[in-house]
Symmetry: none
Subunit: 259 residues, 2 copies
Amino acid sequence: MNPEKTRKLLSAEREALICESLTGGVKTIAELSSELKVSEATVRRDLESLENSGAIRRVYGGAELLRKRNSEPLYEEKAAIHPQEKTTIAEKAIQFLKEGDTIFLDGGSTVLEMAKRLPAIPNLTIVTNSLMAAAELMEKKHRLILVGGEFRSLSRTLVGPLTAKILENVSISKAFLGTIGFEPERGISTTDPNEAFTKELVMKRADKVFLLADSSKLAVSSFVFSGNASDIDTLITDSGISPAAVKLLKSQNIEVIFS
Amino acid sequence: MNPEKTRKLLSAEREALICESLTGGVKTIAELSSELKVSEATVRRDLESLENSGAIRRVYGGAELLRKRNSEPLYEEKAAIHPQEKTTIAEKAIQFLKEGDTIFLDGGSTVLEMAKRLPAIPNLTIVTNSLMAAAELMEKKHRLILVGGEFRSLSRTLVGPLTAKILENVSISKAFLGTIGFEPERGISTTDPNEAFTKELVMKRADKVFLLADSSKLAVSSFVFSGNASDIDTLITDSGISPAAVKLLKSQNIEVIFS
DNA sequence: AGCGATTTTGCAAATCTTTGAAAGACTTTT
DNA sequence: AAAAGTCTTTCAAAGATTTGCAAAATCGCT
């Protein structure tokens, strides 16, 4: 895997190699010990350290990588996935904005495209939990409110129960949400429970909920669901969505708009 | 890697070379020592200096690069006015941090320096209203909570009554505040009433309040005052402050620490 | 330039960490 | 319930770090 024959490895290096080696699945202590050419005692100590830094989980006889279930790509990678669809969806969504609206902008790269293109609509108040969107909007002259909360680095959003403290005190006319997965039957789903909590709260508080999701998100589902499909008023998507799905959505009173 | 055969390197040059050399991953002290042709003791001292300027992390036996110079910064930084004083004040302030603390970081360039240098103290929770600080801390692995509220673009902080919603729900052991002006008689003052509101609230909620202010801030006063001087427990400043001011502060039970 | 003061550097002794091995406690399997 | 394997604890040795000190380099001042 990695020669590094020359010198002894530092514990930091060993830990990195262990994580790398664990991507192939579970490994026993004996396997790791012979891969790294250190004693089993040392492997155990490394695993203990990795475990309480949250990277892995120890199982009897070995260890497994933790953050692997339905793993969410890193922030930079995500933006690159369907850039064309994301842009056209964002442009379509902007057409729904009206003077005097108080809108909520969620995290995710599709909604971020929206923030980047936000035109100079008079008297617009923007509420967001996305630090990326906030960075885009900073220089513009709209009124900008961030909901507080716990920072989640993977999505660069503020999530969790603390977000309720502010969301409960503002009134939102239109919310624009992104998602990891969306099933017409069960609604939107995410990897993180705190993120799901905040999305659900926003859906409850907003007069009108727009979901921005390119067709690759359809029929994908992740770990935690937020509310259910009927909490969404309008889905803005691209033409890759199946006619059957459209029919199912319309039967639930969800408007489908194509970019 | 780099010849530079002619003369001895200055420590600043060595430190730059160390960082460059570390981009390839972890390095041992012995490797760095032979690369730079200096003794291991010197390498250790350089690493110590680099570590508490926040650039690298020392691991037993060597060091690794901490913040890989990744994508362009989320927020552009304004040039600081007294960078040297601010840095040393920030470094002094960091020494007050303990394992398990929940700290508040205010806006302003001095406190921002603190955020940049924040070491890997276990179990540290950071609450902040500064988007600049949040951007710095994003990549690190501390628990990070943003108070929500209205965004004030001049200071890039979240301010106003909405900040109370979250501040009232967290308990802060140590708060580190910046300010525009500070008078020993009347306390800290700012240009914006919303900003003043938030500072005042933080001072009420924190167990211990540290004010980080270089001596140019002393005896300057701005528009709105937050609380009064006695709300501050400790002032961290530079040696430019007058002995009379120190005496006045001590008479109000405010500890004065020099960077 | 010259001289003293300050800082930086390298070395070595003392201290602290990490490592591997072995004994005993605990889990899983038969 | 016994056997086999795995985990935790303990200890000594090897290696790394810190600290104190003296030599060298640098700086500041006349």
